[in-house]
C-alpha cells in the first residue's frame, strides 16, 4: 500500500498551495483520481486522515472525484470510454488503442474554504 506516501505528498502540496495564497482555512479538498492512477480510493481516504494529523488540515474532508478512462482512437478518430481497464479498445470501432486522454489523474482540483 503506497496510499500513505501519496497522502503525505498530497498534504504537503495543499499546504504549499494554501501558503502561496496567503494561508487558507481549508475545510474540504477535492481530488481528481483517475482509474489508471494506481491509487486506491478507500485506502487514500483512510491515509488522508492520518497524513493530516498535526497539520492545519486535521479534520478536513477529502472529496474524491473518480475520473473514468477516456482514449483516443487512431483508427476512427473518436474519443471514447473503453468498456473496462481490462479491455482498452475503442467503443465505436472495437480497435485497440493506447492513447490515454484521461484516467491517469492524481490531482487536487479545488479547495473548499471555511465561510
Amino acid at each position: 500500500m503506497h496510499e500513505l506516501s501519496i497522502a503525505v505528498s498530497m498534504v504537503e502540496r495543499i499546504i504549499e498551495e494554501s501558503e502561496n495564497r496567503g494561508g487558507l482555512r481549508v475545510e474540504a479538498v477535492h481530488l481528481k483520481l483517475g482509474v489508471l492512477s494506481g491509487v486506491d480510493k478507500d485506502a487514500l481516504m483512510f491515509s488522508y486522515e492520518v497524513a493530516c494529523e498535526g497539520t492545519f488540515l486535521a479534520g478536513s474532508t477529502l472529496v474524491i472525484d473518480s475520473v473514468p478512462l477516456l482514449i483516443y482512437c487512431d483508427s476512427c478518430g473518436a474519443e471514447g470510454a473503453p468498456e473496462s481497464m481490462q479491455h482498452i479498445a475503442c467503443p465505436r470501432c472495437q480497435r485497440p488503442s493506447h492513447k490515454i486522454v484521461r484516467g491517469r489523474e492524481l490531482e487536487v482540483s479545488a479547495l473548499e474554504l471555511a465561510a
Partner: protein, 227 residues
C-alpha cells in the same frame, strides 16, 4: 453575510515533486548518454535472475550499472555484482516502491558520463511502483510462467504504464501448463501494441532478442541526442 463555503480551483498535481525530479533525472541521463531501463514485477517473478543475465550480456560491449530496490537485505546487489561491478542496493525499509528521490540518492557517487546502461530494479510489487516516474527511458514489466495468465487483467495499471513486457521462466512453461497465447492476449487487452519478449534466464531462451532490442534502443537514443 454569506455562509456558503468558497471553492478555490487549484489544479495541483499530488506527485509534482516526484515528477519534477524524474524530469530532471531524465534530462541528466540524456545529457550523459546513459540509457535507463527500469524493471517492475511481482516478487519472485525472476527480475534479479533476468537482470543478472542482462548485465552480463550488455556488459560485454557496454558500460553498465544497476540500482536494485528491496525492502531489506543486500542479497540482490551481492548477486548482481557477480555480473557487473557497479551495483548498489537501495533498501526502502517499509516503502513498497522506489521514487525519483531514492534513485537520485542511489546515483550520488556514480559518474553517469562513464555509463551506457543503467538498470533500476524496482521493489517486487505490481501495484505501488506504477504511480512513480523514476526518470527512466524504458519501463519493463515482467511476468513469469509460474504466475497466472490473468495477471495483466488483475493489475492493468502497471501493465498499462510499462513500455515492454517480458515473460520469464519460459523453461517452466510446459510444467506449469502456461497458456502463452492467453497471456499475450491479456497483455494486449490492457496495453494495446506492447512488445512482448519470451525469455528463460536459465536456458538463455529469448535473451538474444531482448539484448538486441535494448542495444537498438540505446543506439537510437544516442543518435537522437547527438543530432
Amino acid at each position: 453575510m454569506s455562509t456558503a463555503p468558497r471553492l478555490i480551483e487549484v489544479r495541483a498535481k499530488v506527485l509534482k515533486q516526484n515528477d519534477l525530479l524524474a524530469r530532471e533525472l531524465r534530462e541528466q541521463f540524456r545529457r550523459s548518454g546513459v540509457y535507463v531501463v527500469s524493471l517492475v514485477s511481482s516478487p519472485g517473478s525472476g527480475k534479479t535472475a533476468f537482470l543478472e543475465k542482462v548485465l552480463a550480456r550488455t556488459g560485454i560491449n557496454h558500460r553498465v550499472a544497476a540500482l536494485v530496490g528491496d525492502l531489506a537485505t543486500e542479497n540482490d546487489a551481492a548477486r548482481l555484482r557477480r555480473a557487473a561491478p557497479q551495483v548498489k542496493q537501495i533498501t526502502t525499509g517499509t516503502i513498497c516502491h522506489l521514487d525519483a528521490q531514492m534513485v537520485k540518492k542511489g546515483l550520488e557517487e556514480w559518474d553517469l558520463e562513464n555509463l551506457d546502461f543503467l538498470f533500476v530494479e524496482n521493489v517486487g510489487n505490481l501495484v505501488c511502483p506504477s504511480s512513480y516516474d523514476l526518470g527512466e527511458e524504458l519501463r519493463v514489466v515482467l511476468l513469469s510462467t509460474t504466475e497466472g495468465e490473468d495477471k495483466p487483467l488483475k493489475y492493468p495499471t502497471i501493465f498499462n504504464g510499462a513500455d515492454v513486457a517480458v515473460i520469464t521462466k519460459m523453461d517452466l512453461a510446459a510444467a506449469t501448463e502456461f497458456d502463452l497465447m492467453a497471456t499475450r492476449r491479456n497483455i494486449q487487452s490492457v496495453r494495446p501494441g506492447m512488445q512482448v519478449f519470451e525469455v528463460s534466464s536459465k536456458t538463455g531462451q529469448g535473451m538474444n532478442e531482448f539484448i538486441s532490442f535494448l542495444c537498438g534502443r540505446f543506439e537510437a537514443a544516442r543518435t537522437a541526442t547527438m543530432s
